[in-house]
Amino acid sequence: MASTYFRYSSPASFYPAARRLAPWFGVAAAVLAVAGLAVGLVVAPTDAQQGDAYRIIFIHVPAAWMSMFIYLVMAFWSALALGYNTRLSAMMAQALAPTGALMTFIALWTGAFWGRPTWGTYWAWDARMTSELILLFLYFGIIALRNAIDDPRRGDKACAVLTLVGAVNVPIIYFSVQWWNTLHQGSTISMTAAPKMASIMLTGLLLMSLAAWAYAIAVALARVASIIIERERGAMWISHLPEMRRLMSS
């Protein structure tokens, strides 16, 4: 059993799996996003207090969840990369960073557009927004550190250390709404209590969240495949790949 898991910790055996799985997750993301947007923009009723402005929730909340969750996944892979000195875990962390930065940016941007009609301002120095902005800077810092280091193995480890140090920020963002009584509202959805929103809105939100998950997985797999090919270009197994054979013969 364990050997099946460890088989995929080698870039050579993970590469074909990543290439095969990425399009499936991409299709799933597209289908879920179409369904989620249809439910969210067409089926779901207009909110009594916020009017139609609330519909940005279907983009904003999934992006905000993913921005934090992707960082935690990066921290997990970074810890594995430092602890076990595995190459693929560091490559996964590297592949996730741009997607995490994108999700954070979308969460901030859509939040600004939501804030304008409901709070009357694009931006406020509220605890959750500020810490989400810091998260964006952390993603940028990790990507910039990676680009500044030429040796990929040193880049792997340096980024892993930075990711783990920055992980302190994630619980601060998550709990900021409870710790500081600021402008941003508390969570509407929780695992333990009954949902405080109409079930059709919840359906749309869940569909969009699944779409965001599928998108992040698809992009991360495609990116990690490219990283593997780039880093292992000197390795023998690359030249045995069917796509490489086709490239050579044409």
């Binding site: 430092l82 500020t130 810091i134 800077f137 952390l138 940028f140 810092g141 910039a144 550190l145 500044a148 280091i149 193995r153 040193r154 480890k157 340096a158 250390v161 930075l162 783990l164 140090v165 920055g166 302190v168 920020n169 601060i172």
Partner: protein, 238 residues
């Protein structure tokens, strides 16, 4: 191994931490003292940055008293950042750092000594000077004392976090700007609670909560940062 031998080994191991810390601290302080002009430049930088804000915005006293704590904290952060690239660069260039990493002494202890020296030469003078500069911002006595106490608690965190960034960017292209990008976001909570303490005192609330959070951050940084910094140095030396 007999219990007595194990105890003896433990004693030797714990003994190795304190001398390593003291040696690195004394050495870096001596080096800093021999280039006193450099220290003076850092402090002048701090004073000038603080002076620029009233000149560029407004000399109006109530507004300055509101802005003052934040400006003094940001200037302290920038002054700490200014000297960070040199924290390990000299020792890295002449091979001393490699010898430290190879020595039987614990690298986190040596690093802690260097960080302590960095704080004594940048953070401490900044905290001592702050009440004087705060007078220019029309802050009253309780606010000034809170500011200095907050800086005494907070500037060690800036040095500890900054050292991790300095170790990670050791020998890289565009080191200074990259270092700022890595370190500044991590320092934001320190800034918020430090300046928040002065605001709380000015609002008549007391600085207890902010000081507790700063002290908690300091304890976490004291334990974690030297380890992370030593790991980052070993990566850079690989």
């Amino acid at each position: 191994m007999t219990p007595a031998a194990a105890l003896e080994q433990d004693r030797a191991a714990t003994g190795a931490v304190a001398p390593a810390f003291a040696w690195a601290l004394a050495r870096d302080l001596k080096l800093a003292f021999r280039s006193r002009a450099e220290l003076g430049v850092q402090l002048l930088f701090y004073v000038i940055v603080v002076t620029l804000f009233p000149l560029a915005s407004t000399p109006e006293r109530t507004l300055l008293a509101t802005l003052g704590p934040g400006v003094l904290w940001v200037a302290a952060l920038l002054a700490s950042l200014l000297s960070l690239p040199r924290l390990f660069a000299g020792d890295f260039a002449d091979g001393t750092l490699e010898q430290m990493a190879l020595s039987p002494w614990s690298l986190p202890a040596l690093v802690s000594g260097k960080i302590a020296a960095h704080w004594l030469t940048t953070g401490l003078p900044v905290a001592v000077l702050a009440p004087l500069l705060g007078l220019q911002y029309a802050l009253d006595a309780p606010a000034l004392w809170t500011l200095a106490a907050g800086l005494l608690l907070g500037t060690p965190i800036l040095s500890l976090l900054g050292a991790i960034g300095a170790a990670l960017t050791l020998g890289l292209r565009g080191g200074g700007g990259l270092l700022a990008l890595l370190v500044l976001p991590l320092c934001v909570p320190v800034l918020i609670f430090g300046a928040g303490a002065v605001d709380a005192v000015r609002a008549g609330l007391g600085a207890g909560a902010n000081f507790s959070l700063l002290a908690a951050g300091l304890l976490i940084a004291l334990v974690g940062a030297p380890l992370a910094c030593a790991a980052a140095l070993r990566i850079a030396l690989d």
